[in-house]
Subunit: 200 residues, 4 copies
């Protein structure tokens, strides 16, 4: 199901060191020398494996995106009602961010950098197929009247928007409570936003 993507020990170390640096100082402010120090891999080797700094950013981004969507699809497989499905999306999102805050920070911050770089065709393909699978999961519930009929582009924002906003502030250290404290509040709110109120 997943593209075979065994990363060598060396590549793994480089990515891990790079993520630490990118989160701490930002991609632009991170020097290759910083990654060298953080990873213990020589400058020459870093270039041998990735070619340039941008390619490291892209590799990291892909890895983060895949992690999240795999987790989400697995969780969704166990849900058996519209309500469960919607709430699963939210819980899963919150759980992933809680468990992988650095990946999350990185993905939020550099999404546009990567997506505009023209280096991320794999990512595009991945996004499209993930979106298609989500659509297939939810379509029946919309057609049968459990979920409000809304423009397709709107569901993502209604379901994920609130927790995403809170997550961003939590990741920035601007909230008093933990993101996970409001897991059920956001799951519930998401369901309220999209459930069908006319038909019972």
């Amino acid at each position: 199901m997943m593209m075979e993507m065994e990363l060598s020990e060396t590549k793994q170390r480089i990515l891990s060191g790079a993520l630490t640096c990118f989160i701490e100082h930002g991609v632009e402010a991170t020097r290759i020398a910083d990654i060298r120090r953080a990873s213990g891999i020589s400058v020459g080797s870093i270039y041998h494996h990735f070619g340039n700094k941008d390619a490291i950013v892209v590799a990291l981004f892909l890895s983060g995106m895949r992690g999240h969507s795999e987790m989400q699809e697995q969780a969704l497989a166990d849900a058996s009602s519209a309500e469960e499905g919607v709430k699963t999306i939210v819980r899963c999102y919150i759980d992933w961010i809680t468990d992988n805050p650095d990946w999350a920070r990185f993905v939020f911050r550099y999404r546009s950098l990567v997506e505009n770089s023209g280096l991320a065709e794999q990512n595009e393909a991945h996004k499209r197929s993930h979106f298609r699978r989500l659509k297939e999961w939810f379509s029946p519930y919309v057609n049968e009247g459990y979920i409000r009929k809304l423009p397709i582009e709107v569901y993502h924002s209604l379901i994920i928007g609130p927790s995403q906003d809170f997550a961003l502030r939590w990741l920035r250290g601007e909230t008093r409570s933990a993101l996970s404290d409001y897991r059920e509040i956001y799951a519930e709110a998401a369901w309220l936003s999209v459930k069908c109120t006319e038909k019972r």
Copy 2:
């Protein structure tokens, strides 16, 4: 109420040229020479007026934030019910982004840069007083049972989160529809998320 802040013709031109560059290539990738070209103001003059590159970023950010909160407070003054208030917040947010897409892009992208730079005390003060006024406006409605009692940190995400998510995607050019098309959907959804369902 607002600090007197008449910007000279030259400063205006510099900021305007800088915003264009920052949006197009990002703050880090924008050179002083680029701003010189975009604004028509000489390098020496840019330094004469702003001192360094960071100060331009901060000035631009403050200007954007002020624009939005002023607009929001004015609109809120005319609202006369919990529902109107909540919907006004959303409509105002959508309208401001629709009318100032470049400012919006800039603010979203560089919020953390500015807020971590330690150069934006003015901004902190401004944010605090704005938040206080919002709290005063809504408190009565919460106490009287029109709005659900929720942790204070959660309201922002429930009300703004969905439209913010859509706005971000719209600003990136990833949506088919315009942000303004869903103005009422998001206003309504925000109200659904926070209105009190038990009473009344």
Copy 3:
């Protein structure tokens, strides 16, 4: 007659320092830091004025080529017979190399580098007009039978070839005698190679 080409003091110094370095170590082995040292101009300024290393090479080359062809055209203006004309070309060539050995070394060695770089359109134009003027000078003597009728491409090699070969070896320090010692031998030999033996 000459393109206005006042080089600033700074540019002059950079070119002069660069020539010294290029002759001593070769263009590739010359570091910008070497030119900085030799010229006393800062690295930043070197780039401010020339943009990159190649542009320095090209500027130097143009300057050398112009020096030689100007000298040659002036000398030719005083010649008043086919024999004098041919001998003038050779003497002038030998004199110029004798007086400007560094320029000569540079021009011989980096001609192809410059001409293949695509950066030397000015040089192309200059070469063409110089060649046209030479052709106009000699044509009458060919038509009137003082000079052998030969394929046009051949004259250059017959007239300049021998002294050029010796000059190259002299510049490399491989000859016992000075180039100028054989000035008249090469002038005479050139005339022997192209004078018409049939007529007279």
Copy 4:
């Protein structure tokens, strides 16, 4: 007579790939990785066989020089008059360049690099003995008055200079005609330059 110099298949391939690269991009701009690609031999193997990049250049140069002087000496063995000898030198030179244009380009361009590198003692010895044999061949004709008595250093330039000049331009692609088209013109011109006009 010739040093035994059977090159292994692998060495041959490396040299051949290297020559292609050196001609196309120049020695300095050619990377070991380029030679690897052009030859199909691994980086490690290239070092195993040659030790470093300079040694490849020198090996290539020696090989080119030897090819030419061997050919010349063989041809000269069949000549039986001063005129035939001089013309043979020129024809042989033109033929060799026509048949080995890449070797010729390489030898012209990197002669000084190799000869100044201190790595080419073999080459020095070879050049000296070749020059001695030429001298022995021509001396009698000079003494007997068939060839002008000139400073010894001058003969090379008078005989080879013209065709060399044309050859250089032909190799650079700057001529309309082929070098071989003027084979007899240059052979004849060389003889005109050195034959004794007084006697006979």
